[in-house]
Symmetry: C2
Subunit: 236 residues, 2 copies
């Protein structure tokens, strides 16, 4: 009986411990940067033995990789939740605004996009190509949905819009922190209004926000699941 409850609870506890380790690693990473955080630090701060950390990840690089993977996951999940809560936010400029804030609010993600060497260490040289491709594919799918509903300017190909949107978005993320006003919400609004005029069409009055949002949420859900699986992370 005690054995059965333990068998039941055990995976749950394992996941909790993994999460706690990631919490600690993320905390130390933001505070001291990649190079100054050791596995002993992480284990010590988490109140467990170093060997235990290695029960979850094979190497230091994989542990820190998982930290970033979880941040990316959470940002995508922010966007999904925002879209679930307000289907009217499925237009590209709202998508951009929400995504921008989801990234800028997370120091590790800003660092990732800014290529912060202090934060990233040797992870710089090995960007997760597979994940990047999944995210690019998701964006492409999303833009396809928007195009079907005539919500994008039609004098540019989908790939071109994707490239231009991506460049603009990253430009704003990079500018954040080196601009006159660095209030994230103001910058996010400015990005939204830029993206809206640059890439969108006027939405028709009969636009089925619900189904469009649902389809986008589905795309995001697939992306998140794929990312989670690839990173070996549990729900959350």
């Amino acid at each position: 009986m005690s054995a059965s409850t333990e068998r039941l609870r055990e995976p749950q506890q394992r996941a909790e411990r993994a999460a706690r380790i990631l919490d600690v690693a993320a905390e130390l990473l933001t505070r001291h940067g990649y190079r100054r955080v050791t596995m002993d630090d992480v284990a010590g701060e988490a109140g467990i033995g170093k060997g235990t950390v290695y029960l979850h990840w094979k190497t230091r690089e994989q542990l820190f990789g998982a930290v970033f993977a979880r941040e990316v996951l959470r940002a995508a999940d922010d966007v999904r939740q925002a879209l679930q809560q307000d289907p009217r936010a499925c237009l590209l400029h709202d998508f951009a605004r929400v995504y921008f804030l989801a990234i800028v609010d997370r120091p590790l993600l800003s660092g990732l996009l800014l290529g912060d060497l202090h934060l990233l260490g040797k992870l710089t040289s090995s960007p997760d190509t597979a994940r990047d491709e999944r995210h690019a594919a998701m964006l492409h799918g999303y833009l396809g949905l928007l195009a079907e509903h005539r919500l994008l300017r039609d004098d540019l190909g989908l790939d071109e819009i994707g490239d231009a949107y991506q460049a603009t978005f990253e430009g704003f993320v990079r500018a954040q922190g080196s601009s006159s006003t660095d209030d994230p919400k103001r910058r996010a609004d400015l990005l939204a209004r830029t993206v809206q005029r640059a890439f969108e069409n006027e939405p028709p009055p009969d636009l089925p926000f619900q189904s469009l949002a649902a389809a986008t949420v589905a795309l995001l859900g697939d992306l998140i699941d794929a990312d989670r699986t690839a990173a070996g992370l549990p729900e959350n």
Copy 2:
């Protein structure tokens, strides 16, 4: 008489020598990067003594600073010439296209905007604040001109348009080199079409291209002169 002709030609020859030194320094810089280029290299390649280089610039840093200053100058001059040649190119999206190409065509300038550490060395930490301010002021003046002619969207402040334009522009420069198509002309067009929709109004049929272009050329001329003076560079 020979003394008088010599006195006349001498500043000319000095300038030519300075230009040759900058040529050599730029060449070595692009090929080997900041850290691997010594003053002896530059002098040797220029066929003069090292002491002579120091007759033109007080330190190594100032020499390499002048190399970048001249590149910036040349890019601005490209834009000015393009505008002089075709006054119809004074709209923001054409301005963006020409400036983009002027930068991307110059490896040192791309490196500057990309913050290339290999290329920049310790110049990274000391961006020329004064020059950056002059350039920002020029952009602001130019946007003011465009606004007077109702050529910019009017639901955004000038500063906001400036910030957003800058972020978009730099996003495209950064994306160049890490995107699917890296044909500079295609990217420049994409930027132009993005900027046009994002920030411009339809130009009125009676727009005085001539005077607007002339005013912009004047702004650029002032900027170039100020930059040149600040860098202690001759014409060219």
